[in-house]
């Protein structure tokens, strides 16, 4: 045979032709232990034919080892050995599957109270949260917590699967009770889009195929819903933002003048010729070129990675943010945020942490904790003395340099940050910035005269 071969063009069979044009839905799953989360995911993978022969073989082998002999769908998703030994999932695991209509990434997070940290991580990138409720037990404290986290992280869509319907005789009345119970606290959380589906993960009812046992339910199956829920506007497409990641300066003769600012667009759309402002410096310029390896673009939108070249020679480094002229972001050193504490070492007031937001890394010092969320009833406990692992609370803090951001409510990519312990380098918190109480005007340096917007 020849030593290498080149690829063939235009030889694609129709079946998979459309795959690269499909869009992607990222969802997170949460449920208390034993609500059936692993079984449900296993069922979804199984019924959508996303399980391969060798995986099944391994499942069957482990069924023999653990006794019982019955294949346990939950084992498909229970990852690491430590977890298998303890019989619980302890970390975020990512799963992938596709149907002819959409590609899916599942962030599978454990259901323990103490693992809020993992749920926050899984939820941070999700378009949709899937919450499981055991039909027999009704809405648990855990379910409320999950719904709260979905609202805190501003996941646009929530699906509540009322599971184990087979154990309540597929009763419509029971389904409605549980649904109403759940709905009773939804208004307080302000979840924009909540859908309920009665399922039996174990038997497969309404997971991929419509249930024959619940003809009273006329809605979509879980997979049907996941395939069709509208996610077109889940990114902020109104205000252009691009945190500069890396300055591209080839230093070669042929690209002598090339100086590009590389980054991922985290909000809005940018066009060639658009006026832009570089923050925090406030310098103004125009977009000369939107460079990509595949050729220059006339315009580009969130979340594409591009390289911008500007009309003017401005000093720009990593951490700066290139933004559109109207609706400038917040530029401030004093901040308010909700955070989830993720480390065994509790939050220390007045200690210097490193803070990472956008592409900038600065020092941060927390001056006060306004309140802590009581995860039992989701109430706010005023003036707590500390925030510990898995606690959620609101803090006031300062940074050593100005941060350029939008409130998390407006833009998830621009309003999120992590805190890093400078000694251990652990990621100790995930935070969501709020609109500051007094928003200061942002100074923009104009060409001829300085002005303030």
């Amino acid at each position: 045979m020849s030593s290498t071969s080149t690829i063939e063009k235009n030889s694609a069979p129709a079946a998979s032709e459309s795959l690269h044009k499909m869009d992607l839905l990222r969802f997170t799953t949460a449920g208390s232990v034993d609500d059936g989360k692993s079984t449900l995911i296993g069922r979804m993978l199984y019924d959508s034919k996303s399980i391969f022969e060798d995986q099944l073989e391994a499942l069957e082998r482990s069924a023999e080892i653990t006794g019982g002999g019955e294949v346990n769908l939950a084992n498909l998703t229970d990852g690491l050995r430590a977890e298998r030994e303890q019989g619980i999932t302890i970390d975020v695991a990512y799963r992938y599957f596709a149907t002819p209509r959409r590609r899916f990434i599942i962030a599978d997070t454990p259901g323990h109270a103490q693992y809020t940290r993992n749920m926050v991580t899984g939820a941070s990138t999700a378009n949709l949260a899937l919450i499981l409720v055991d039909a027999r037990k009704g809405v648990s404290e855990q379910s409320k917590r999950h719904a709260y986290l979905a609202s805190l992280l501003r996941i646009p869509h929530v699906v509540v699967c009322i599971n184990k319907m087979d154990l309540v005789d597929f009763s419509e009345e029971r389904y409605e009770q549980v649904r109403d119970e759940f709905m009773s606290f939804v208004p307080r959380l302000g979840l924009p889009d909540v859908t309920f589906i009665p399922v039996s993960a174990l038997q497969g009812d309404n997971v991929v195929d419509p249930s024959e046992n619940m003809d009273w339910y006329r809605g979509a199956t879980l997979l049907g819903h996941l395939e069709t829920v509208y996610i077109g506007s889940d990114f902020n497409l109104s205000e252009f933002r691009m945190p500069v990641q890396w300055v591209n300066r080839p230093g070669k003769d042929e690209f002598h003048d090339f100086r590009g600012f590389s980054g991922q667009i985290t909000g809005g759309v940018v066009k060639v010729g658009d006026p832009v402002v570089v923050l925090p410096s406030g310098h103004r310029s125009r977009v000369k070129e939107i460079h990509t390896y595949d050729g220059n673009l006339e315009e580009a939108g969130c979340p594409r990675s591009v390289t911008l070249r500007l009309e003017d020679e401005i000093d720009i480094t990593r951490g700066d943010v290139i933004v559109g002229e109207d609706r400038l972001p917040i530029v401030a050193q004093q901040h308010i945020a909700e955070i989830c504490w993720m480390n065994d070492q509790p939050l220390a007031l007045r200690k210097k942490y490193m803070l990472r937001q956008g592409t900038s890394t600065v020092q941060a010092m927390v001056s006060s904790i306004d309140h802590r969320i009581d995860m039992k009833d989701l109430g706010e406990l005023e003036d707590p003395t500390e925030l510990k692992l898995n606690d959620i609370g609101r803090i006031q803090f300062k940074t050593s340099k100005p941060l350029v951001y939008d409130s998390y409510r407006r833009n998830r990519m621009m309003g999120s940050f992590i805190l890093i312990d400078p000694a251990t380098h652990d990621t100790v918190a995930a935070g969501m910035l709020k609109e500051p109480e007094n928003r200061m005007p942002v100074s923009v340096l104009a060409g001829p005269e300085d002005f303030v917007i």
Partner: protein
């Protein structure tokens, strides 16, 4: 506005470019592990997309088992040259000679011996971050792997002490003695990789396409006849049309019977496939936890 919505592949590409640029901006001495396999071929294209017209801000590193499909080495060297990239090769053979890697008696596969070889190369060049082409869909133990995965001095991965990675905010800090592995295509599936190869019209080594080859049945799979683990008594050599789904040590890389001779046909075959990619590597079959064990030891 909706025209700006990215497709699945565009989204994954943008994410991977972002991650690569984070490496370039955050580390002093990164490297990209290039094996000549399909995943690392995608990594090279992503590096072009992230950094052109500049040169790559890192050299390529290959840990060569010496147990290769012939054309792989030629391909590896040629590709690096075409890209104008610096290629560093460290061989398991050499590591064994220097006593860095020690085969256990009877151990023929060199997959495990790649670990000390890689670690010693990282030491030698003081790399603080190694970019690899691992994907979370490959194996259960990988499902929890991070984009930026911290290794201690022994290259070990500790599943319990991995840093949370909310949003796209990566903590790239390393302490002395530690170093980072970075996996820009964590969220890609095998299918995404093939779709990307097709979309980008990337050249791949010929072993990925159907070809006639002498094979023997061993450990439940077809293995290429080779000099390192010769045909044993009782085994029959057969000639079949096969291809590989993944390239590793030739003595444990299973060949699958296939007539797929174009990328399109491969994609078609995979959509109908019933065996996951790692299922065609003999060393993973040993136990369900074998990948996890190797990871703890520093395999990627």
């Amino acid at each position: 506005m909706s025209s700006h919505k990215l497709s699945n592949l565009e989204y994954l590409e943008s994410e991977a470019i972002y991650v690569m640029r984070e490496v370039a901006a955050s580390f002093e001495r990164p490297t990209l592990m290039f094996s000549g396999g399909k995943d690392s071929i995608c990594l090279l294209r992503l590096a072009e997309k992230a950094f052109r017209p500049s040169d790559f801000p890192f050299p390529l590193l290959n840990v060569d088992t010496g147990h290769n499909f012939d054309e792989l080495i030629e391909f590896r060297d040629r590709r690096a040259e075409e890209l104008g990239a610096k290629l560093i090769v460290r061989t398991v053979e050499d590591a064994i000679a220097k006593g860095i890697a020690t085969p256990t008696p009877g151990e023929l596969s060199r997959n495990r011996l790649q670990i000390p070889t890689l670690l010693s190369a990282i030491d030698e060049f003081e790399f603080d971050c190694a970019i690899g082409g691992a994907r979370r869909d490959e194996e259960k133990a990988r499902a929890k792997e991070r984009f930026f995965s911290l290794r201690d001095e022994f290259g070990q991965w500790e599943p319990r002490s991995q840093r949370p990675e909310p949003w796209n905010l990566y903590n790239t800090m390393v302490s002395p003695g530690q170093n980072m592995r970075c996996f820009p295509i964590s969220n890609w599936t095998e299918m995404d990789v093939w779709e990307y190869i097709r979309r980008e019209q990337l050249e791949i080594p010929a072993v990925y396409f159907s070809h006639e080859r002498e094979v023997v049945r061993r450990g439940g799979q077809w293995l290429a006849v080779n000099d390192i683990a010769p045909v044993k008594d009782g085994e029959t050599v057969e000639t079949k049309n096969v291809r590989v789904r993944t390239v590793g040590d030739i003595i444990s890389t299973g060949c699958i019977e296939s007539e797929a001779s174009t990328i399109g046909e491969i994609i078609h075959e995979i959509s109908a496939a019933r065996v996951t990619e790692r299922g065609s590597r003999a060393d993973d079959k040993v136990s369900e936890s074998s990948m996890e064990d190797r990871k703890r030891e520093g395999y990627f």
